[in-house]
Symmetry: C2
Subunit: 197 residues, 2 copies
Amino acid sequence: MAAEAPAPRAQYDVHRLLAVAVQVFIERGYDGTSMEDLARATGITKSSIYHHVESKEQLLRLALDRALGALFAVTEEVGFTAGPAIDRLRYVLGREVEVLCAELPYVTLLLRVRGNTEIERWALERRREFDRFVRAIVVEAAADGDIRADLSPALVERLAFGMINSITEWYRPGRVDVDDLKTTVVAIIGTGLGGAR
Amino acid sequence: MAAEAPAPRAQYDVHRLLAVAVQVFIERGYDGTSMEDLARATGITKSSIYHHVESKEQLLRLALDRALGALFAVTEEVGFTAGPAIDRLRYVLGREVEVLCAELPYVTLLLRVRGNTEIERWALERRREFDRFVRAIVVEAAADGDIRADLSPALVERLAFGMINSITEWYRPGRVDVDDLKTTVVAIIGTGLGGAR
DNA sequence: GTGCGCCGACCGTCCGTTCGGTCGGCCGCC
DNA sequence: GGCGGCCGACCGAACGGACGGTCGGCGCAC
C-alpha cells in the first residue's frame, strides 16, 4: 500500500452540512441520530459541525423551515386561491405531490416530527395550519356538490393528504416520474371523490 | 394536609407495562423515549421495569410482534386467499383498516420503525413481505382488467396502503366509526381504481 | 496577518442497565 | 394461629458509556 497524500479536508458550509444532516435524520430519526453519526456522515468531526450551526436542534429548525416554506408557498398560488373549489383541490393535490418530490428530504423530516421540543411543537402547529387551509377547500367543494355526499369532508382531507404524504416513505427521485405520480394521485382521489370528471 | 397512608404500590405485569410503553413510544418516538420517561408514565422506577422485561428493546420487539401478528393474520383469511383479485383487494383494504384501528398503538409503532437496530430491520423486512402479498393481488386485479389500465399496479399498491397507514396519524378510537372509515377508504380507492363498481 | 474551517481533548449530563436489597402476599408446616 | 420461606414486584444507588456541546489551538488560502 503506497503512502498516500492526506485526503483533502472536507469543505462544508451550512447548506451542505444541512443536506447531509437531513439525510441522516431521515434514515435514523432525529432522536436516533447523534452528532457522532453526523460527523461520520460528513467526514468532519463533531466539534467542527458547531462552527456552522449552533446546535443539533438548529439543524432541525433549518430543515423544517425549508419544508414549511415550500408547502405554504403553494397556498399563495393562483391555482390555490382562485376558481371552483374542486379545481383548487385538484390543484393543491398535484402541487403538493410536486413540492414533496422536489423537497423530499425536508418534507419527509417534517412529516415525522414528534412533539418533544419547542421547535417540533411549532412545526406541528404549522402543519395543522396548513391542514386547515386545505380542509376549507374540501368543505367548499362538498358544498358545491362536487364530492360524493356520502363522504365526510374531514375524512376526505385526511385520507387524501395521508396518501400524498405517504409518498415520502417510498418515493426516490428518478425512479418514478413525478408527473406520472401526480397524475395517478389526482386520478385516484379525484375519481374516488366524485366519480369520473 | 393530613398525613396520608402510603400510596399502594403500582402493580404491573409485562402486558400492562407494554401498553403504557407503547403509548409513550408513539408520543415521543422510540429513540426519544428514555427509560425514565417510561418510569414516569408507569409510576414505577426504571429498575422495576427490568423485572418485567430484559431491555428497552424487548418492549419494542413485543409491540412489533403484536402488530405484525395482526397484519399477517389477515393473509390467512378466506377473503384474502379466495375469489376474484379485485374482491380480495377490497377485502384486504377493509380488513387492514380494521386491524389498524383495533391494534392502533402497535401498528402505529410498526409504521414508524427506522432501521437502527436488528429488531427494527427485521420488522421492516416483515413489512416488505406483507407488501409483496398485497402487490401480487393488485397485479392480478390489473391483469383481470379490474384496474384502470393507465394506473401502475406498483404505484396503486403503495398509494392505497399509504392512505390506510396514514390513518395512524390522526385516528382516535371512538371519534370516527370504524365501519364509516373502512367504507370511505374502500369507496375512494375502489372507485378511484376502476370507476364505479 | 486574518479569517474560515477544522481538530482533539475535554466537559457535565443523561442514557440504558445492573446489583443488592425491601416489601407484601401467599403457602405450608407445626 | 403463627412463623418461616418463597415469590413477584418494586426500590435506591451506582455503573460504564453515550450524549450534545465547549475550548484552545492548528492549517490553509488569500
